[in-house]
Every structure is written in structure tokens, then in C-alpha cells.
């Protein structure tokens, strides 16, 4: 398969230039429409042509609405073409005013003199109406979800339409997910190569965050719409151009300080633009450093670099090379329970750090340096044919530190046994009755006595130092660094062929080769001299057989002991994830008069497997000769088998999983005169699961989850837009049904003394809703009213199956068991006193089924604002946001019959309503304002600032996410279970961002 794809690609690369021998035509075709309002005279005529582009990136703005006035008389209205090009001929000589507007851009007026020929204006540039929107991954705190089993990958909504422009920025503060979709459904391309992570599918914004200038030029589609770069899914395509010629020419310096993310960002960039000799080059560097005013311990020490060079050979060939990376450290924020937040008196408390000799130290630090290199070749053999071939390689290190400890107390300050609620609960059924100890704990927490609120580094060092052994001090606490080091090679080729005025064909092929090593290393021994490579979680259960507790059994069999670890040594788990992905797609676009449409299809092939590099004692498998392995100590059989009789292996290759997938989509639309457009899209998608969704416990074994299959999605939307005379409007209705999703959650369970994994399959969801975005000019020049609304219902529509395993045990806790309360739970009828009612047969009466919702995003989000711009480049903006219908992430355990039934196995209505319920977050209102001004000096220098104040009402009770802990508490009477408290992330209170820039 690999070879075939490779050869196709090579053939494409080499034959395209040959095919390009034909000369390009010199006249562009104008694909827009003109409606004449005044018949032109036929003498002394001329015309005007040009391309509408966005000012920041010189990217064409498609279908811009244009009106041409002569004096007060409207001569014509028109739309520029898809490529931004417009050409009006047969105009009588004279002076005209041309108004140009496009969704998401500030309306611009250009004076044109027509004098006997078709004057080429070259570019008519529009300024994005969103002035502060400098949105990237660093707008999102690094949420520490590790050990919880949940994922929180931000999705960033970009777009040039009125809805995405406003929603993308205003809603990012609550980690809004457009239409409720996961991050992996959003396709992000860089220079034409799909960048979504090969293992998780997530959008890897962090690879280029901080390179805002180099990455500013983007082309986006929304929802099901296809793009020129790829087939896309149902959640839009963003293509970041990243080529030097797409970076705005000149020098740019900016300095940004803000109080909710990091203290300071300094950035510089330069781009040459396309020089006469065909070269263009650009660079961008930045540093983001410091902490913020709201979350202690969180910090950035991130740098970023980008360099690109591009050469145009004649009119036909273009070759570019770009490389970039964002090396640095980023301290993470942890979630805590409400009890902890209340004790500390802050909802933005972070438990990840402590003082070490008076210096703040965060235990959870993301340490990355993942350079990306790409070589891009573009050929335009004919005016109507363009082809590109790209090779992109991503490599480097991605580490995430965490505390690891061996046979010692949990070092996390907010561990549940350290909290007042562990000693006393009002409800005596919890059997936590010691109010006095709870009082001590409360006092220690509230007044931070002995640094109760923080990690006690001094104590960890003292314990390590004092643990003397013959070969030095054996560390009980260390900092481990969990590494996910990718090698990701992408080959991509695409073609765009404008076959005729009414038909354009785009298509491409892609191939991805990914080999990622997952392992961990000792980052810091915290004052000790060494650590030992054993599975401490298995030690209690298998103390009498040291072979079973080995992380590296082969080493043990060879040397008779586990390896002694020093800083930098690998330990624990070590395996490769291998992913191969190939795809081919095509999209036919047609346009007849005001009618346009497209049909697109994609075929794909995904193949992946795990390759264990160490043999774990608990899952020894067979030796290199295929023989069973026995413990040298006890003589017991170490090789273990699953319920189907297959050997459970940790070392070597897993079964290879492969999927053929296919997807289709289509759409059509009408342009009506006067700026109205109506269009609809529909698609059916078949997506392979990702590597991280496929293994029950990838850290320890090769076992693949049962029922692994492709996710099937149907999605459709209907849209209406209006754009004219400064008015912008979009209304969309959408419906999406997602079936057969799988998910693996993994978290540390101290009751099991180990990591436990929930592998779920058969998760179905339905997303439907409406989107509205509008901008209305008000009677005062420069003042407009703008707003967005996203209102949907995103629900689960199936009860999935779940397999639970524990890393330190071969036993399967739940084996493909139904999770019966996942999609909903019954609400029972009660009388006035709250007693449950019975029907005639003595059964409880179900009043209704309470739906469970797709979590972690408001399903109702709205924004309304005033925007005012003066001709002297001042701007003011004030907006109010409203968020509601956001829900907490659910864990599958609380929705099982076991959890609902309690130790006695009987599920009472009260237990069901308590255990299976999903928490809904409170609605929130936010108020934001911004102000900015830019000065032009000698038309060459541009200096300006923008100041934004967010959350002016200082609302500190806005939950942006969180998760349920996957633990149960036995009740005193042993009839039921109670839940552990959930953990939350909260939004920052009032915060500012000041940006100063200087450009020339």
C-alpha cells in the first residue's frame, strides 16, 4: 500500500511540470456577477479591475459585495469572484465611488477614476472587522486532565463570516466548541497538509502558537463545506497558508501583556513580499513568558520561531521551504473540587505547585520542542490548472512532567484524604463522623498553615534524602516526564483544475507515516540518588514473586534485579504507536448563473499497531521462541491468557488494525441579487478510530478494545446569508448524527492502587441547532450592532458498552458490559412530600427520561455588542455574552447498574436519580470591552494599541469544564454508593490584555 501511494505521488510530482509546457494565458477570468442599474453610455468608456484581498494576509476574499456609484447614482452592484477578482468594463469615463464589503470585514470605500481603459487596481484590501482577535492555542490554559481520564483539547473557531468571527473570539473564554463537536472533528491544514494528530486526531494548535504573524493567513470553511485543500469533515476546514509570500510584508513588532494567560509576549516578524527576482522570505520569532493574575503556578516560558523562503521560477513554478517550532515550558493548571475552592476562597486555585526554598515550582509542566519542516512545490502549467506537492515532517520531543511516588503518601495537596470532608460529612450515612478532625483540616486549609494548600517540596526532599540504602538515597518521590515523541511524515499532492467557467475540479492524495514513542523518563530525583524500575502498583499483590512486578522483565531475567534508575533514564512503559494513513479525494464545483454546487468524495485507508519495547512482568507473553515464560523465583507461569485464550502480551507487535473508509458530501446554493445567498450541505462520513481510542491499556499491553469499528456520521446544514451595505447576516440550521464512536479513558484510582481504563464503544450522539450571526450598521457612521447566537441540543443517543481493565492486573473488571444510564436516566413521579409514587402493580412510576448531554461546551451561547470605528482609526467595542446549557463530562462507572445498585444490588429510584444524573452548569453573563487606535505616520509607519478588558463584571463563578472522579464511596448501611465530588475548571475573573504594535 505504502509503495503504491508513494509511486503515485512521485509520478504526480514529476509529470506535472512536463505537462506545464503550455503557456499561461494573460487574461484572468472574472467569475462574479454584475447587475447594471444604469445603462452606460457607449462613448469614452473604460473600466476597472482588481482583486479583493484581506489586509492582513493578502488572501483573496471571495464573493465580496461591491457597489459602484457615480455621484449619488448607483451604477452597478456586483460580487467579486471566488478568487476575489472583479472586472467592470464599459464604464463611461468619470469619477466613481466603489463600496466593497464582505462578511467579517469592515466595509471599505475606494475612489476610482475611469479614463478610457481598464484600470488595474491590483488589490482592494479589506480589514477584518475583528480587531482584537489574536486567537491561538495560548488563549487556552494548559488544563491538567491527566490522571482523570478526560481530554480537553481546545477547538478554535476561525472564519471570515460574521458568525465565526465573533463567536470564535468571544466564546473562547468558556472553551466553546462549535456545534458541540470534539476537537478531532475539526480539520486543520498547514500549507495544504492535514495536521490533526495521527494518534489522537486533535488539532495541534500548540505546534505553532506564538507565531501569530506567520500563521495569520488562513482559509476556512464551516461545517460540512469542503475546501480546496482537502475533503474535510463536518466541522469545517482551516488551512493555514504559512508560506513566506502569504506573510504580510514588512517589519512588525508587538508587545502584549495580559492578566489571564501569561504576563508578556514579545513578537517580531519580517516578510519580504515577493521580490522582483522571484524570491520571498519571512521570519517570525516570539517569546511568551510569565504567569497570570488568576491561576497561581501556571506560567509560560515559551518561544517560537518560523523561517520560510520561497522562490518563484517564471510564472509556472514555485518552491518553498518553511520550518517552525515553539520550544518551551508551560506550567499546567489542575482542577479541584468545590470543597477545595471554597476552603481556599478561590475558584482558580491550582494544586499543581508548591514553594521550594521560596520559589514557586509547578509539578506539571509541558515541555516541548517539536520542529516542523515542510517543502512545498506549486506548479501552474496552465492558467486554469494548479498543482501542489508537499512534504511535511514533524519530529522532536513532547514531554509532560508529573510527580511519581513509590510506597509513600500521596503528595498532592488536595488529595481527598487531606480534606475536611474525609473526616466529616453532615450525612451520617457517609460514616465520616469526626467533626473535630475536620475542624483541624479546615483551619489548616483556610489559613494555609504549613503550606497545606500547596505541594510540600521540602517534605518530599527530606523523605528522599533520609531514605538511605547501600547504594545511596533511594528516592520515594520523583518527577517523571511522560514523553510522546512523534515522527510524522506527510506526503501530499493536490490539483485544482478550472475546467470551464462553470466547473472546477479539485482533488488530491495524501499519505501519513507516523511512528511515535511513548515512554517516560526520570526528570528529577528530588534530592535522592536513584529510583527502581518496578511496578509499585503490582508490588502489594505480587510481593512474593518479584518477576511479576517488573516493568522490564527481560532485564530482570538477565541480571536478576530491576534496573536502578538515574535522572534521564527511561522507565515504566515504552512502546511505539505506528500509524499509516492514506487518502484520496476529489471535489467537483459547478456554478451556473446564480446557482452553485459541489459533489465531493473521499476514500481512506488507516492502519495502526502497537509495538511494545519492554516486557512487563504481569503481561509477559511468550518469549522470543514462542515458549511460555516462568518465574525464576517461584517457578509460576508468568504468561497469561485472556478470556478467549489469547496470550496477553506487552512486548512486540500487536495485531495490526486496519480500516477502509469512505465519505461523500455535496451541496448547492443560490445567490440572489442584493446580497442574499441560500445554500445547503449534506454529507456522510466514515472515520477510522484513532490509535488512542483503540487499546484497552496501551501503557501495558497489546490488547485491542472489543467492537472496534468506524464512526459513521451524517450531517446536514441549511444556511442563509445576507451581506450588503454594511449589513451582514448568517442563519444556519444543522443536524448531525454520530454513531459508533469509541473512547478510552484512563485515570489513576488509588483504591485499585493503579491506573484503571474504561474502553467504551458504541457511543452515539445527535447534534442539532441553529447559528445566527449579524452585524447591523446604526445611524451613526462607523457604529454597528453585532451579535451571534449558537443554540443547540447535543445529546447522547445510545447506551455504550464498556470494558474496564486495571494496569496492574490481568483481570477484566467489566467485560464489554452495557452502561444502561449513559444516554438518559429515569425521573420518577413523587407526591407533594417527595415520596416516590407507585402504580397499581407496586412499581415506581417513571415520569420522564432525563436526557444526558454532550459536555464541556455551552449549548446556548449568545453575544451582543456595539462596535464603533472612527475615520481616525479609533475603535471601541462593548459586548455582553450569555452562556447556558453547559454540562459536566460524565464517567461511565456512575452510569452502570453496579454503581446505581450499590453494595446491595438494589437500585432504588433515589439511587438512580442521584448516581446517574448529569450536572448542568449555571448560566453565565459576561461583559467585555475593548478600545484601540492606530496611527499612520508618513503612510509608512503604523503604530497602535488595543486594550481589552474581559469579564468586567468580575464573574468568578463560571465553570468552563471539569470532570467526574471515577470513585465510589460505600454508605454506612452498605445499601448504596455515593459519588466522589467532581472537579471543575473556572474562568478567570476580570482581566485585561494590552497589545502594542509597530509596523513598517
Amino acid at each position: 500500500m505504502n509503495r503504491k501511494l508513494l509511486s503515485i505521488l512521485l509520478v504526480a510530482i514529476f509529470t506535472l511540470p512536463l505537462a506545464a509546457l503550455a503557456q499561461a494565458q494573460d487574461k484572468k477570468t472574472y467569475g462574479g456577477r454584475i447587475e447594471w442599474h444604469e445603462r452606460p453610455a457607449l462613448d469614452d468608456k473604460g473600466g476597472v479591475e482588481g482583486t479583493v484581498v484581506n489586509r492582513s494576509g493578502r488572501l483573496p476574499v471571495a464573493n465580496a459585495a461591491m457597489s459602484l456609484y457615480r455621484g449619488e447614482t448607483l451604477v452597478l452592484t456586483a460580487n467579486a469572484g471566488e478568487d476575489g477578482y472583479f472586472r467592470f468594463e464599459d464604464l463611461p469615463n468619470g469619477i466613481y465611488r466603489m463600496k466593497v464589503s464582505a462578511p467579517g470585514f469592515v466595509e471599505s470605500v475606494v475612489n476610482v477614476t475611469v479614463e478610457g481603459f481598464v484600470k488595474d487596481l491590483i488589490f482592494v484590501s479589506l480589514v477584518s472587522s475583528q480587531t482584537v482577535s489574536d486567537l491561538d492555542d495560548s488563549n487556552f490554559a494548559e488544563f491538567d486532565m491527566d490522571g482523570s481520564g478526560y481530554d480537553d483539547s481546545p477547538s478554535i473557531l476561525y472564519g471570515n463570516d460574521v458568525y465565526s468571527n465573533i463567536a470564535g473570539y468571544d466564546f473562547s473564554s468558556v472553551r466553546f466548541k462549535n456545534r458541540g463537536y470534539n476537537s478531532e472533528t475539526q480539520d486543520v491544514y498547514l500549507s495544504g497538509v492535514r495536521m490533526n494528530d495521527a494518534l489522537t486526531g486533535y488539532t495541534p494548535w500548540s505546534l505553532w502558537s506564538g507565531l501569530n504573524e506567520a500563521m495569520r493567513s488562513k482559509e476556512t470553511t464551516i461545517g460540512v463545506e469542503p475546501s480546496d485543500y482537502g475533503f474535510g469533515g463536518y466541522n469545517g476546514v482551516t488551512n493555514i497558508l504559512a508560506t513566506p509570500s502569504s506573510v504580510r510584508p514588512g517589519w512588525r513588532f508587538s508587545l502584549l501583556t495580559n492578566s489571564a494567560l501569561y504576563r508578556l509576549r514579545a513578537m517580531a516578524s519580517y516578510a519580504s513580499g515577493e521580490l522582483d527576482n522571484g524570491w520571498s522570505y519571512a521570519f517570525n520569532v516570539s517569546a511568551r513568558v510569565g504567569g497570570n493574575d488568576w491561576v497561581e503556578g501556571v506560567y509560560y516560558r515559551s518561544f517560537a520561531y518560523y523561517a520560510g523562503v520561497e522562490k518563484k521560477f517564471g510564472d509556472m513554478h514555485k518552491l518553498g521551504f518553511m520550518t517552525f517550532a515553539t520550544p518551551g515550558h508551560r506550567g499546567a493548571q489542575n482542577a479541584s473540587t468545590q470543597e477545595v475552592y471554597d476552603l481556599v476562597g478561590s475558584n482558580t486555585y491550582n494544586s499543581n505547585w508548591g514553594y521550594q526554598n521560596g520559589k514557586m515550582r509547578n509539578a506539571r509542566v509541558r515541555k516541548t520542542h517539536e520542529p516542523v519542516m515542510l517543502l512545498k512545490y506549486t506548479v501552474k502549467p496552465l492558467e486554469n490548472l494548479e498543482a501542489t506537492a508537499t512534504v511535511l515532517y514533524r519530529t522532536g520531543k513532547n514531554g509532560y512532567t508529573a510527580l511519581d511516588w513509590y510506597d509513600s503518601q500521596d503528595p498532592r495537596p488536595d488529595y481527598y484524604r487531606y480534606l475536611p470532608s474525609y473526616f466529616y460529612m453532615d450525612n451520617p450515612d457517609y460514616d465520616r463522623l469526626d467533626a473535630s478532625k475536620a475542624g483541624w483540616a479546615t483551619e489548616a486549609w483556610r489559613y494555609n498553615i504549613n503550606n497545606t494548600q500547596h505541594i510540600n517540596w521540602d517534605r518530599l526532599y527530606s523523605i528522599n534524602n533520609s531514605n538511605h540504602t547501600d547504594i545511596g538515597a533511594r528516592s520515594k518521590y520523583v518527577i517523571e516526564e511522560r514523553r510522546t515523541d512523534q515522527n510524522d511524515l506527510n506526503l501530499n499532492a493536490s490539483v485544482k483544475w478550472t475546467a470551464s467557467d462553470w466547473f472546477t475540479l479539485t482533488g488530491g492524495i495524501s499519505y501519513k507515516w507516523n511512528k511515535t514513542e511513548y515512554y517516560k523518563v526520570i526528570d528529577d530525583l528530588l534530592g535522592g540518588d536513584y529510583y527502581i524500575n518496578i511496578d509499585q502498583f503490582a508490588e502489594r499483590d505480587y510481593a512474593s514473586d518479584p518477576a511479576k512486578i517488573q516493568n522490564d522483565l527481560d532485564h530482570y531475567l538477565l541480571y536478576g534485579s530491576a534496573s536502578t534508575l538515574y535522572a534521564g533514564d527511561k522507565y515504566g512503559y515504552d512502546y511505539y504507536a505506528n500509524v499509516r494513513k492514506g487518502g484520496i479525494w476529489a471535489n467537483g464545483d459547478f456554478k451556473v448563473g446564480s446557482f452553485s454546487g459541489y459533489v465531493a468524495a473521499e476514500g481512506g485507508y488507516t492502519r495502526f499497531w502497537r509495538e511494545g519495547l519492554v516486557r512487563k512482568g504481569l503481561f509477559a507473553g511468550l518469549d522470543d521462541n514462542g515458549q511460555e515464560i516462568f518465574s525464576p523465583v517461584t517457578g509460576d507461569l508468568l504468561t497469561s491468557y485472556d478470556s478467549q485464550g489469547n496470550v496477553i502480551t506487552s512486548k512486540g507487535r500487536s495485531e495490526v488494525v486496519d480500516f477502509f473508509t469512505w465519505s461523500v458530501k455535496g451541496g448547492f446554493g443560490w445567490f440572489f441579487t442584493g446580497g442574499h445567498r441560500l445554500y445547503a450541505n449534506v454529507g456522510y462520513f466514515n472515520d477510522a478510530p484513532t490509535f488512542t481510542q483503540a487499546f484497552v491499556s496501551p501503557r501495558t499491553r497489546n490488547t485491542i478494545i472489543p467492537n472496534l469499528t468506524t464512526t459513521k456520521t451524517f450531517s446536514a446544514d441549511l444556511n442563509y446569508t445576507y451581506s450588503n451595505n454594511g449589513y451582514d447576516l448568517r442563519v444556519t440550521g444543522f443536524y448531525t448524527k454520530i454513531n459508533d464512536q469509541t473512547d478510552v479513558m484512563s485515570f489513576y484510582d488509588d483504591a485499585q492502587n493503579s491506573y484503571t481504563n474504561f474502553a467504551m464503544s458504541g457511543i452515539d450522539q445527535r447534534h442539532m441547532g441553529v447559528e445566527l450571526g449579524f452585524k447591523i450598521p446604526l445611524p451613526v457612521t462607523g457604529l454597528s450592532l453585532q451579535g451571534v447566537l449558537s443554540w443547540g441540543e447535543y445529546v447522547y443517543t445510545s447506551n455504550p458498552y464498556m470494558t474496564q481493565t486495571v494496569d496492574n492486573s490481568a483481570e477484566v473488571v467489566f467485560d464489554n458490559a452495557l452502561v444502561p444510564y449513559w444516554m438518559s436516566h429515569p425521573i420518577y413521579a413523587k407526591d407533594q412530600d417527595g415520596a416516590y409514587l407507585l402504580d397499581d402493580e407496586g412499581n415506581y412510576i417513571v415520569e420522564k427520561d432525563q436526557k444526558h448531554y454532550v459536555p464541556s461546551t455551552p449549548q446556548l451561547a449568545a453575544s451582543l455588542g456595539l462596535n464603533y470605528r472612527t475615520p481616525s482609526y479609533w475603535f471601541f467595542e462593548l459586548n455582553a455574552n450569555y452562556f447556558d446549557k453547559a454540562y459536566l463530562d460524565m464517567n461511565p462507572l456512575y452510569r452502570t447498574s453496579l454503581a446505581v445498585g450499590g453494595p446491595d444490588g438494589y437500585a432504588s429510584p433515589e439511587e438512580i436519580e442521584y448516581m446517574a444524573a448529569q450536572e448542568k452548569f449555571d448560566a453565565a453573563v459576561l461583559l467585555n470591552a475593548s478600545i484601540g487606535k492606530s496611527w499612520y505616520i508618513q503612510r509608512k509607519y503604523n503604530f497602535g494599541f488595543s486594550l481589552e478588558v474581559k469579564n468586567i463584571l468580575n464573574n468568578r463563578n463560571v465553570k468552563t469544564g471539569g470532570y467526574e472522579q471515577t470513585r465510589l464511596i460505600d454508605s454506612a448501611n452498605e445499601e448504596r454508593y455515593y459519588r466522589f465530588d467532581p472537579k471543575y475548571f473556572y474562568m478567570s475573573g476580570v482581566n485585561y490584555m494590552l497589545n502594542l504594535y509597530f509596523r513598517f
Binding site: K437, E443, D458, I463, A543
Partner: protein
């Protein structure tokens, strides 16, 4: 041009101001200095305080828990270790006058309280109580079933238990049976010499419906040749149904679990039960064959009592030696 320079100067000034606004604390250092080790408390830290011996402290207990010990300091040495898991959430301390169980309540105590290390216990606010014949020092209990509670909470520990210097501790040698029954020796670190294996166990196992079975009542040792029973050992013993103690048709009703076992030893006609937790690391370690066949053995550990039974707690297997 002047104008531009002015702007650039202004810009630079703002930049400089911006950088200086960022305090040093916000650029976390990559390297951190090693912190100071734990403070080592000495007698000087308790100048002017009343010290009380363990014997006197234990004597305060009459028939009910004492929660008003008063402003007294106990200075004692740690004589137990939970490293091997035979002790859980508790430790024993002793001075020249006697030993007592200190119900710390936290786990992995050996990391912070080393064998032989001196500790100072501020008894103010703590309680002494009796559990089945053993006097314990702990926190006042809110549970009527127990006379003392685990101290457990770190702030209480930080204000009541203070680590002193490291030290060495030698076991008190007991070579006569009277030493085993002497209440003054309870809670002490001792070496009992010249014991022989008693060919008898005491252990209770439970089936999946929570019905209990007293193994010692059915057979003498029920085939149990390990110090205790962990899950692995349980599965192995159940192959024979504990030497037939569990009828064949009932064996399927038992799931592997961890069980404590009291292995009987004898000193001149006095029984001493060596009680070992199923969670001890050495639970599934076989007792030396020589011991089982009757060689004389010396045991080092903590002398305890459960009701009228003399019991013995091993810190680890180095406390078991076959007598010369």
C-alpha cells in the same frame, strides 16, 4: 523623521516598562536549590515543658479513655516499621519505662519515622484508651466502638508529633515465659528467645456471602505454612480447600482475598501468636521448614495482646532467626 524617533522611543520605553512589570517570581527557574531537611527537634525545643514517661502515661488509664492528659511531652524512640506492610497506619514508640502504640493514622510512616528515631509527642489534645488489652495513644474518638481514634490529620500531627534525632534501638531480650505475660512489656520492642512452632493457626476466612469459617477450629494448621494469606496464597491454599477444611463443593464460593493469620509459637507452655497481616509483603512467604519441624527460634518484634492472647508483631522477616 523626528516624529518617528519619538514614537520609537516611546515604544521602547513602554517595552522596558512592560518587561520590568514582570516580577521574577513569574519566570520559574529551571533549577531549584535543594531545600533544608526536616528540622530535628531536641530537648531544648521543649524547655520548660513537663515530660511524662510511657509507663506513667499508660498508668493514667483506669477504665475509660483519658482525653485530658494535659500539657505533657513524651520522649520516645520509634520501634516499629510499616515498610513491610505488617503494620498499617500505626507505630510503636518506647522509652526506658515501656512501649505504647501511637495511632498515627497516616500511611508509609517509615518514610518519616525511622526505626530508632526519637520523637516528641505533645499529649495535649490527644487521648489514651484501651483496645482489647492494649493501651494506645491516639486522638479522642468520636466513635463509641473505639476508645481512641487515628490522629490522621496532618495539621494535628504537625502540632503533636515532632521528629528528633536518629538513633539505634536494641530489643529487650525475653528468655523466660514470664516476660511474655508481663503487661509492662506490652508495646515494647523485644526479642523472645527459644520459641518453638506450635502447629496451630488462628484465621477466619469469609465466603462470597460473608459467612465466616474459623480455620483454627477445623484443623490445627489447615496446611497454612506461610506467615499470612494474600490473594495469591489464598488461591493456592484453596486448591486443597485448606487441607480439607473447606468441603470440596463449597470451594467455589470463595474469592481470593487477603487474610491475617496468627501462627502459634510456644515458650515453655505459654502460647505466643505471631499475628501477620495478609497485606504484609511477606504474607505469602513460607515459614522456614526448620521452624515448622520444631527448631527453636528467636523472634524480634513488638509484644502485644489481644484480649487474653499473647500476640507478637514482626516488623519484617529479619526478626525471625533460628536459635543457635
Amino acid at each position: 523623521m523626528k516624529n518617528i524617533l519619538k514614537h520609537i522611543t516611546l515604544y521602547a520605553a513602554v517595552l522596558a516598562a512592560g518587561i520590568s512589570m514582570v516580577s521574577c517570581d513569574e519566570f520559574p527557574p529551571v533549577n531549584y536549590d535543594e531545600p533544608e531537611p526536616f528540622k530535628v527537634y531536641t530537648d531544648e525545643d521543649f524547655d520548660g515543658r513537663d515530660f511524662i514517661t510511657i509507663a506513667d502515661l499508660k498508668a493514667m488509664y483506669q477504665n475509660s479513655p483519658v482525653t485530658t492528659i494535659g500539657n505533657r511531652i513524651v520522649k520516645a524512640q520509634v520501634v516499629s516499621s510499616d515498610q513491610q506492610g505488617n503494620l498499617y497506619r500505626t507505630m510503636y514508640i518506647q522509652d526506658e519505662t515501656g512501649g505504647i502504640e501511637l495511632k498515627m493514622g497516616t500511611r508509609n510512616l517509615y518514610n518519616e519515622y525511622k526505626m530508632g528515631q526519637w520523637v516528641y509527642v505533645d499529649c495535649n489534645g490527644l487521648a489514651i484508651g484501651n483496645y482489647r488489652g492494649m493501651i494506645q495513644l491516639g486522638y479522642p474518638s468520636s466513635d463509641p466502638d473505639y476508645e481512641t481514634a487515628y490522629i490522621d490529620q496532618q495539621y494535628i500531627i504537625d502540632t503533636h508529633i515532632f521528629r528528633g534525632e536518629l538513633g539505634k534501638v536494641e530489643p529487650m531480650v525475653i528468655d523466660a515465659k514470664e516476660g511474655i505475660t508481663d503487661a509492662a512489656n506490652l508495646g515494647r520492642y523485644v526479642k523472645v528467645e527459644g520459641l518453638t512452632y506450635g502447629n496451630r493457626v488462628f484465621a477466619i476466612i469469609y465466603d462470597d456471602s460473608d459467612n465466616s469459617l474459623y480455620l483454627g477450629d477445623v484443623g490445627e494448621t489447615c496446611g497454612i505454612t506461610t506467615w499470612a494469606i494474600n490473594e495469591t496464597g489464598f488461591a493456592r491454599y484453596m486448591l486443597t480447600g485448606f487441607d480439607g477444611a473447606v468441603p470440596e463443593d463449597e470451594r467455589a464460593n470463595y474469592s481470593p482475598a487477603f487474610y491475617s493469620v496468627s501462627q502459634y509459637f510456644n515458650k515453655d507452655g505459654v502460647d505466643l501468636q505471631v499475628r501477620t497481616s495478609g497485606y504484609a509483603r511477606f504474607a505469602d512467604t513460607a515459614i522456614d521448614e526448620a521452624i515448622l519441624v520444631g527448631e527453636r527460634v528467636n523472634l524480634t518484634g513488638i509484644l502485644t495482646r489481644y484480649n487474653s492472647n499473647n500476640q507478637f508483631l514482626l516488623n519484617d522477616l529479619s526478626g525471625v532467626e533460628i536459635a543457635e
